[in-house]
Each structure stands twice: as structure tokens, then as C-alpha cells.
Subunit: 199 residues, 2 copies
């Protein structure tokens, strides 16, 4: 097919790359938007464009920021003493939905992996150690996935923080073996946070 329809097909192909949308559901979504061009399609385009231009990685914690730093790092209400270490922003969002954690975060951006040649330098671990030296941190909560990679990473960080005098804990109760935080319900995450134990 050639001609103006190509532009719509290209849009469908772009939508189909989103997680949870295949070619078929992407087509239905685009058709839905085509029917609501003024009410939904144009506003969605504007919102996406604004966020794409404005969003950045928070230079302090690695969260998504819409300003110079993220709103959690910016908030005077968040405890300075507690840093919760997560693999990625999805996990941070999952913890925020639970609402149980009142400290700040550190987003690693992944887990250690010898296979994929991902070492501490690739994971913002040096930045975490620098934060602990620079800020008045008393506790680091390792909220990593209960996978082999997540736990390997947790142990690496716990060892790296030995001798800093900082308490290192991890989520315990409620996280099922092999479970990924982002798939857990909010209550389970909150319970795991409350029952955290020293590593």
C-alpha cells in the first residue's frame, strides 16, 4: 500500500510497539483516536509531546523528573535518612502506590548481570555510595526483585555499604520467590516494607 494511508499504518506500527498492545489492538486504538481526533487524538499528541520534551532522569535518584530534579527529591516532606533502592522506575511507582514509604529512592536502572556485562558502574551504584557519604542517610532499604539477579545485586550493595555505619535492610515478608514488585498488589508491598529485616 502506498499513499496517504501509509501515515496511519506507520502510526499503528508505532502504537503496536507499546507493551500490551499488538498489531490488532494498536489498529483498534488508532481507529478509536481517528474517530475522536479533536477530543482525544490531538490532546494525547500534545500531552505526549510535552512530557517527551520535559521529562528527564532525576540526577539525584534516577526517577523520572519533570523539573531539574524529581518531585520526591524536591519534597521537604520526604525523610532524608531513608533511601529505598529499586531496580527501575516501575518499582518506584509501585512503592509509591502503596504509600507506605516516606523516605527517598535510588533507582539502579537494572541488576548486576555477568552475562550481559552489567557491573556496578552501569547501575548507578557509585552514585548510591556517593549519596550515602554526602547525605545524612541512616538506612538503605533494598527493594529489589526476589529474582536471582535482584538478590545478587542486593548482596553486592550490602557488602559495598559495610563499614559505612548505615543500616541496610531489605523487603522481606510478602514478596514471593521469583516475584516482581511491579506485579504485586499495593497491600503486599506495604506489608513487606513494614516487615523489612536487617540483611
Amino acid at each position: 500500500m502506498s499513499g496517504p494511508r501509509d501515515e496511519i499504518e506507520a502510526l499503528i506500527a508505532q502504537m503496536a510497539r507499546l507493551p500490551g498492545l499488538g498489531p490488532r489492538s494498536a489498529r483498534r486504538a488508532v481507529l478509536h483516536l481517528l474517530r475522536k481526533r479533536e477530543g482525544q487524538m490531538a490532546p494525547l499528541a500534545a500531552a505526549l509531546s510535552r512530557v517527551a520534551e520535559t521529562a528527564r532522569d532525576c540526577p539525584i535518584c534516577g526517577n523520572i523528573a519533570m523539573g531539574a530534579s524529581c518531585e520526591i527529591c524536591d519534597s521537604p516532606a520526604r525523610a532524608i535518612g531513608e533511601i529505598c533502592v529499586v531496580e527501575d522506575v516501575a518499582d518506584l511507582w509501585a512503592l509509591e502506590r502503596g504509600g507506605a514509604f516516606k523516605g527517598r529512592y535510588h533507582v539502579l536502572g537494572g541488576t548486576l548481570s555477568a552475562l550481559d556485562a552489567i557491573g556496578p558502574e552501569e547501575l548507578r551504584i557509585p552514585q548510591l555510595i556517593a549519596r550515602i557519604r554526602a547525605e545524612a542517610v541512616t538506612e538503605v532499604i533494598l527493594a529489589l526483585n526476589a529474582t536471582v539477579e535482584g538478590q545478587t545485586t542486593a548482596h553486592y550493595i550490602a557488602e559495598a555499604l559495610e563499614g559505612t555505619g548505615v543500616r541496610v535492610t531489605s523487603l522481606a515478608q510478602g514478596v514471593p520467590i521469583g516475584g516482581e514488585l511491579d506485579y504485586l498488589d499495593d497491600g503486599t508491598i506495604s506489608a513487606a516494607l513494614r516487615a523489612r529485616r536487617a540483611l
Copy 2:
């Protein structure tokens, strides 16, 4: 929650209004885009914006057009004599995927419904009759859904076209009772088109 995060939450809410995406999958889709802001989010915003600005309803057939009229009406390769009548653009796309129909379309924009006070005037039926008078149409193929409303509409159109000398046919074999065209596989649609029968 207030502050810059609101903009991301608003974007998630907009995405969640798309068919096939709920709040949870919308969040994952937005997070995916936030991770690929330059490679995927900005291009998607641009494509949506371009299509939202350019797309319109084809004044001839009711298909989505990216120019003054749609590429099917514009194409000299499409037979002038056959008009395939469909409920909406999704059905037109489904027939085009089958690739068996070489004529042109007429999109009604719905079906007759006494309950919803949708009469012929709401459905581009007068425009269909005007096209048949103005263009060298020899056959009208009613490709309406095999639902009560679809078949009521088909019978209404068949009656309205009595005396025009135009052959009125409908998709027959292969369309299951209660079935909706947009959910059928391409082969079934093509078979139904080939086996069309006079009403």
C-alpha cells in the same frame, strides 16, 4: 498527588481511555515511552499530531482521508461500478485487509436504531442514494454486521434502492450469526464476499 507528576498521571489517564488499555497497561505503556523518550515518545507524539491535523472524513464515502478525499475514492484502479456499504471504518479496513474487493466503499457510520433515534438521515444513507444516482453504480454490496441492527439496516437500504436498477447483494457465506466483521479473519471475509448473494 500534586506537582509535575500530575502531567504524567494525566497522560496515563488519557492512554487508559484507549480500547484494550486499562489503567494498569496504560501506566506500563507510558513508562515504556518515558524510557524511550527520544526514540519512541517524541516520534509517536509527532505522528499522532500530524494525523490528528490531517485526517478527515472522506466527503464521498465516509472513510478516513488524509487528503481532500480518501485514497480509495482517489484511486483510478478501483472499480466505479461496485459500492460496498459498511457500518464503519473498522469494517472497511477489515475488508481491505482481505484484499478481495476492488470497488469502492460507503461508510454508514452506524446502523438504524429506533432505540437510539438513529434514522437514515444520521447514517449517510441519503448520500448513498445520491451517489447511486450520480455515479455509474451497477452493484451495491451490503457488508453489514450479522446483527439484528445490521440486518435491519441492510433491508432498509435494499428497499430504498428498489427501482434504481442497481443490483443489491449482501455478504453471505461465512459470516456467523451475531458476528462482527472486524473480528473475522481475512479469509472468512474474502470467502463471504465471493459467495455474495442477491437480496
